[in-house]
Each structure stands twice: as structure tokens, then as C-alpha cells.
Amino acid sequence: MATFTVDGKQYEVEAGTNLLQAILSQSLDLPYFCWHPAMGSVGACRQCAVIQYQDAEDERGRLTMACMTDVQDGMIVSVEAAHAKDFRASVIEWLMENHPHDCPVCEEGGECHLQDMTVMTGHSVRRYRDKKRTWENQDLGPFIGHEMNRCITCYRCVRFYQDYAGGKDLGAFGSRSRMFFGRVEDGVLESEFAGNLVEVCPTGVFTDKPFSQHYTRKWDLQSAASVCPGCSVGCNTFASERYGVLKRLHNRYHNDLNKYFICDRGRFGSHFVNSQQRVRHAAVKANDGVFEYGDVNAALDRAVEILKHEDVVGIGSPRASMEANYALRQLVGEENFCRGLSDSERIVTDQACSILMKGGFKVPTVTEVEAADVVVVIGEDISNTAPRIALAIRQATRNVSFEMAESANIPLWQDAGVRGHAQHQRNALYVATSNSTRLDDIAEATVNALSDGITQIASQIAGQISGESHENTFVTSVAEALLAAERPLLVTGTSLRDPNVLNATAAIAWALRAKEKEPAMLIAGSEVNTFNTVVTCEGLTLNSALTRIADGASAVILENDLYRRAQSDSVDRALEGDGEVVALDVVESETLVKANVVLPAASYAEQTGTFVNYETRAQRFYQVFQPQDDIQPAWRWLSKIASRLGRTDASWTTVDEVSRSALAALPGIDASLEELAPTKDFRIEGEHRVARQTHRYSGRTAMNADVSVHEPKAPVDDETPYSYSMEGQNPGDQSGSVIPYSWTPGWNSNQSIFKFQAEVSGDLLGQSGGKRLFAVPSEPDAEVDKEFDFSVTQPTRPAADGLVPFPIHDVFGSDELSAQSWPVAQRAKGPYVLIHPDDAAVLSASAGSGVRSDALVGSFEVVIDDCVQSGSVGIAVGLNGRVEIPDRTIALVVDPDFEPRQLGDARVIAKS
């Protein structure tokens, strides 16, 4: 620890930090631009100047850049000294020379770090009278707006995009006052983390383009703490609404998960909430097969009638909340409840859980992923299925650079120094996947194989570790690296739908354990709440549920498009048979139109509930705004049906009650709702609610005047600790699960988050939220290990002509809900297949032409890729509304009528 004095007051900090970070950690105000808590210091902007004194006698001191100064024990500095303040004011005056006076029309206005810092330094009169330099802006695609005139040359954008996220197509051009930050030419920013530029840029150069198209000032947004529904990581977000439209998502700091960054599927994938595909009204299918909309009572009566059938099946969903799944399970009974996973996903996901639980392996947080020193990715294209994990793996490969810096006496926060010293030295990352991935550029070695090939490689690695001797250099180098590692990490997932891949990965972990290396093991699930469905109950398989429906059973289908999860013919048989169906969903689907009753379900932004992520961390997301039209949370619909059926055991009045029952019903898990997040009775200082609206929220009396001049009564919230008004508080020391937005006096931008942290980049003052349902074992239980069979059974694939299909996942488009978000739909590709050049030649298919198969729905664009094994075909899943791929070889034929979908040709249009 080091004790240092700022303006006569003593503070204690961890030695080895830089002075700026140390000062901010005391919650003091010191302006800065180029420093970023996750990216360190480069000393580019000169804004954080302070006066440093030699000793107590020194009255003059000297100017020093806080971000470039190591904190020393006994150091005496002044932030408030007149000379330091003058210097900082002149720095901002230079920075502002070329900055336009366009704050009133700038999307950053009101949450602009440059505005905040300008006010903080006291620069209020412009003396500069010359012309400002101006730039032509670029079209950077559907996500990011570009306004270069506002740039103050802090370099944060390229430091994040290139150095942190590994993007290649955003650069810094020119020199001196002619710096330009953008692409070589107009075009879509390729990185799936580009959206973070919106938050990283301290002013309005890079802005949220979809948000700009229906813009609202930050202070006019109504926000609540939320959880991203995009994948199994469950990144924390601030979700913000106005006029009944979910306007945008921002990153919400979680110390163990996303910290400062989220991916673009999360950030831009939320607009499905506002899409034209939303189901907004209850509907009953009349005898003529046409839906009659809008009579909620009639729909409920009809649903009750359907559920009075002697045989009722309930199909849940891995994208619905814990509460909705539980309510359905209660309603139909465990023996009639299907978790809603496809049969192949069910097998592989159960296996994943079984490995983690029985194997007792340590499941790493995202922060722990970043700390790994050797990473082996087996059978999961993690950049596409759980992008935030891939970003963390990228950071893990930098750990050696910090070790090198330490031994060279370079401070670890000295970003340029650390990177320059390490050059291309990286921690070992090995990737074994079916297709090339966006981590390959930093991998020590990669190998591409089908799932059985990957299984074989993984079992050989396990064998090599246990003392066998293999020829394959990939196998031997991975084994060697793992044995030499201190914090080895194995990353795999369920997307290949092959339990053998998981078994073989577990065999590696097991072999390492035998060598007294305890590896961390991360298994990515396929959807936001997949792991909740696993811990819930066994349940019916999807195909047995479908068979029962086909045989005449009634069914309740919860937020699930069954066509994505089972072969079309079996779903057709079920939905077109005698069994009557009540379907609840957020967006329209092929399944929904075949139901007898449709009930519009609330999206995650319109309800409070719980998702369980890949580490079995149960996290609460809160209602951001009340749903309009007939929309209600799914659990409430089910509750209403249950109460009309006289079933008091399956009806509740508040979400907290359902959550408590759901948690209590989890087998072998002891978790109370209070441990997850504050409940409805939580009050700040025992009396104040948390305000969803900022204290200067405007237009409350006028915003709906086009409908009625009478100001509506603010909704009463009896389900959450929040209020639907500006009455309430957001002090920053409440639980991290219930921070609605980040703001403190003087800090309007997202940079204010440091005031919510115990120290810069430390945990939140009120601690990050959620609870891991399964505790991490401190020591592996030797007994349970023996119960578990890690052996790999060789798959029996029927020999047949044709190509072996394997799934390809796309960050934009493969996920069902985000694909219905209009910005993401513009980025998503049309359905495509990856094939080897030899196979393309046999088919006489050229790149860009179309192919189809009897076993697949629709036509696919041909992408030729020599990473794909000859004799196999990678099928992009989800893009044609199907996720499950055939389990046998398929024959492709050229489709002469194929027309490729152009990028930017959105299938879905924004509501506003």
C-alpha cells in the first residue's frame, strides 16, 4: 500500500497504480480523456495534469501528467493548485479549437465526456477565431454513426478497436491536427465489438446509429437494470425506454462478467422489442382458421377450455425467464413438461451440466477467463456463440506481456510501453473447431475438423497428458502447454450438438487434474436461459411431447418456435393434428400461426424476471417500461389461466412470489431471492425507491399530449424496487443489480461508473448482482469423479453418399430474437453454406451461387472455404428459421433460381 496526499488530505492506495486512477479511486474529480480503466494510459491528451511536490517544503511543485505517474508512498500532489487548473483549462481550450458548437444537435449531448470535462475545467469562452478543420464522414454500416469534426484525437477508438478487440479495419490516419479516425474506405465496421466505440469515444464521433434515428436525450430516458438475452453469458445492461419504445442498451458494469464492454448482438439486438413482428394482441383462431384479435377474456376462456383436456403438454423455452418456465411446469405438471430444448441440444446440454457438476470443475467468470495463461478452445466458435467470452480470451493472451513488463520495470498501466515491449509475444491459445474463427489471428495453432475429428484430437490431448505418445503436433503442443500452465482454461460449448466433444474435453480436464493442474472449464450454452432449463427438471423430450400433441393432447407452447428445434415434418404433424395449442410468444413465428390461441408475451424489457447464465449465475432483470396493448409477462398469462382453472398452486400475483417458488423448487439448490437481487420491498435508506427516470426527466406532462391533454397517472410499481417517475434515488451504493443508469453530479457520461465502484475497475459499491446456483467447489470431490464416465463413444454415422453437415453460427442472425432487431437484420447474412473447393467443383457451384437440399429448408448461398473438411458442409443455422441440422449426410444440388440477399436488405423494419 502507498499513502499519498492530495490537496492536504491523505489517502491509501495499492502501490503500482497510476496517479490518475488512484485519485479517481478516491472518488475525487480529475478530468481526463485518453486514459480508460480497461485500457490503461498512453498520455496522449495532457488533460489530467496535476502539481507534484518534491516534499512538504516544496511550495512550487511541478506539473505532471497523473495518468503517466506511478503512485509512490509519501507522494504529495495537488489537483486544485492554480497552475494545474490553468494548465488543464488551456489543454481543453486547444482540444476545443476544432470541435464544433453542435452540442444541441449532437447525439452525445447530455452524456458527453467532453462536455463534462469542459465544464469541469471551467473553459467557457472561446477565443479561437480561425476556421475549424472539417472532414467528410464515412458510412460505417448500420450500427455506428460517424462525425469526425467532433474528434479531439484521444486515440481511444483505435486503442479499443485494434489493440483491445483485435479489429483490423479501423485506423488512425494522418498526423498533427489532421488526424482522421475511420476506415480506409466507407463500409461496415467488421468487428462484432464496434458498438463499444459509442461508449469508448469521449464525444460524439462514433454514435449509436439506430438510437440516433429515433433519438432521446439520456436525461429523458426511463431506464432499469437489465440482462442481455443474446447468449448464455448474460452481460449486464442498462435498458432505456421512451414513448413505449426500447431506445437503446448500454453496458452495465458487472465485476465478474462484462465489466466495460458488451458485443454488438447485445447492444443492437434489442430492437426486436419494437419490431413489427411483435405479437401485441391476444387472438383466438375461429373455425374458419382466421384469428380474431383483441378479446383478452375470450382468449383466456378458450385457453382454459383447451387446458381442460385430459392430456396436456407444456413446452417451455431456453429464451423465456425462469419464472415463465416454472409457471408452465407448475401448470401442466413435471411429467407433462418439456424444457423446450431440441432433442440433440437437450442431450448435449444435460451432458454439459453433468460434467460441470459431477466433475466438480471450476467454471470461470469472464474475469477469470481474462486471467488464464493457456486457453484451449474445443469445438465451439465462441466469437459467434458467446462473443464476450472471445473478447476475454483475447485479453488472456496478453497476460505474458504484463509479466514481461513487470520484469522490465514497465508499469502495467503503461499501455504503449507494455505492448511495445511484448511485441508479438502472446499466451498460448489453441483452437480446434469445424470452421475458421475470429480468434485464429492470435492462436498459436488451429485445427479444423468435424466434431468426431475434434473429439479424437481432444481425447489424444488427454492421452498425451496422461503419458501416451501421439504424432500430431497440435496434440503434443497443446498437451505440453497445458502441463506447463498455471491457470489452464478449457473452453467448449454445445453448438456442435455433440456430447462426445464435451466428454473428450472433460477427459483433458481429468487428465490435467491427475497431474495436479486444476483447469477451469467453460461450457457455453446456446441461449440466455439454457442452463436454467437444465437445473429445473428432467422433463419430456421434445419429440415425445410432439408425438403426444400429434396424438391429440392439448399443448401450451411458451416462447418457442418449435420449427427451429425439431424437424419440420414432426412439428407439422403435432401442430396440424387434433391437439389444440395455446401459444405465448414475444414475436411472430411459424409455430404461433398454427396455434389455436395466441397470447402476447412481454419481452425481457417489459417484465421482471431471472435468467441463468453459463456459470449458473441467476441474474435478475427488471421491467423497464410497462407493456402496451394486450402484452403481459408469460408467467402472468399462465397464472391467470391457472386461477380460472381453480389451480391455486399455479397462480401468483407478483413476480417475486413466482421467483421465490421457482427458486424453492430447484432441486438441491439453496438460493433465496434476496441473494439474487433486491426484491420489491427494497428501499434505499429504508424509504426511497430507485427512480427509473432521471431527476430532470422532461415532458412528463406533455409527451402524450397528442393523445390526451390530461397527464396520465404515473404507473404504480408494486413488483420492483423502482418507481415509474423521477421520485426516488440512484445513490450508487445500492446493489449493482438495481442501478438504473450511471450518473453522478458533474459526470453525465458513462464515465461516471467509477463513482459507483469501490475503486476504479473494482467491484461496485453495492456489489455486482446475481448468485451462482451451484457453488464453485473449493476442492474436487474425489468420490463423485469416479461416478462419471468421461470415455468417448465413437459415433456411428451411417455411411452414405453426400456431405456431412455441421452447424455454423453467426453472431448476427443465428440468434432468434436479435435477428428480428432491424439493425442486426441489416448486418445478418442470408442463409449460406460453407463448402470445400473440391466439393464445390464436384457440384459445379461457384461462390455466390445457390444450392439446396431436400433435407434443408430453402436455398443457401455457396461460400467456398478451404478450412472446411472436404466431404462436409457447414450450414449457417438460424438464418433460414431453422437451427437443427440433419443428423445424416445430405445431397446438395445447384439452385439455378437462387438470388443472394444483399447486405443491408433488412427483413424487418423499425416500428418508429
Binding site: Q162, L170, F173, S175
Partner: protein
């Protein structure tokens, strides 16, 4: 795929010279500046197509290489004339009348700074100190340093550069 096809944008001679530079260096991208200079030597300037081809050869992205190329004022990213006149605009030359000389130069060539004459003979650019303050005003034409420049001497100076 398309990037691979861009390598033919460089001549065999250029590729050989660049590879020779790379052979002295720890990694390919360290040859960035040399590679840009080699291509400029052969072609007079570095076009977008040449830039992509060099980037591809060095295993860098175009954005990374263009960041290097545009940082240096002597790497030309637009076509220049057969000869480039770099006129010093720093303090010593200014004191010795470079200001007026610059205007005379513009009149004589019929172009402004940053432009190229219609016959492609000269491109006129400003430059910071050439390190010959004792013989100010100075200019550089191609590789030649020219000292004690005056408007009267211009014809004689230009004679050599056809």
C-alpha cells in the same frame, strides 16, 4: 480471396526489394515504411491499390498500413509530378524571405501549394526545416537540397528537372 489476387499489383522487382528488406527484420510488418518507399520509388506515389497489395504482402490490414503511410508527409498518397519541390516554411527561411519567394514560386509555376503543374513536371509542397538555416531560404527538389534560393535563380534551378 480478393486480397490474395491483389499481390500482382506489385511488380516482381518491387516484391523482391520488399522481401529483401523483410529478411533483415524480425517480422514482416516492420518493413512497412521501407515497402512504401520502394513502391513510391518505382511509381512516384502509393495508390490505394498499391497500398492494399503492400498490406497483403506484409500481413497487415490496409487500415494499419495506411495509418503509417499517411503519418509521413513524404509518402505520397496522391499522384505527384515528375519532380517534387519541397519549399521550407520554417522560421529561418521565413526570416530570410521565404514567404515572398513562395508566392513568386506559385506565380512562376502557375499552381498553388499542394498542386501539380498541368504538364506533370512539378508538384509544389511545403516542408518543415531542411536543416540548412545558414543558407536560407532553402528548398528541396526530389533528393537535391537547394540553398540560398532567390526568385532570380529559379529558371536556372529548374533547368535540370525536365
Amino acid at each position: 480471396m480478393s486480397e490474395v489476387e491483389l499481390i500482382p499489383m506489385l511488380s516482381q522487382e518491387e516484391v523482391a526489394e520488399i522481401e529483401a528488406e523483410i529478411s533483415h527484420l524480425p517480422d514482416r510488418e516492420s518493413a512497412a515504411i521501407d515497402a512504401l518507399m520502394i513502391v513510391q520509388k518505382h511509381r512516384g506515389w502509393v495508390s490505394d491499390e498499391s497500398l492494399s497489395a503492400i498490406a497483403n504482402l506484409l500481413g497487415m490490414s490496409s487500415a494499419e498500413l495506411d495509418g503509417v503511410a499517411t503519418f509521413y508527409n513524404l509518402i505520397y498518397r496522391q499522384p505527384v509530378g515528375r519532380h517534387v519541390i519541397s519549399m521550407c516554411d520554417s522560421v529561418s527561411c521565413y526570416v530570410m524571405g521565404a514567404d515572398g519567394l513562395a508566392k513568386d514560386l506559385e506565380t512562376k509555376l502557375g499552381i498553388r501549394f499542394g498542386e501539380t503543374t498541368a504538364d506533370d513536371r512539378f508538384t509544389l509542397l511545403p516542408i518543415v526545416c531542411l536543416g540548412a538555416c545558414d543558407k536560407a531560404p532553402t528548398m528541396q527538389i526530389d533528393e537535391d537540397l537547394i540553398e540560398n534560393v532567390s526568385v532570380e535563380k529559379l529558371d536556372e534551378i529548374f533547368e535540370k528537372y525536365t
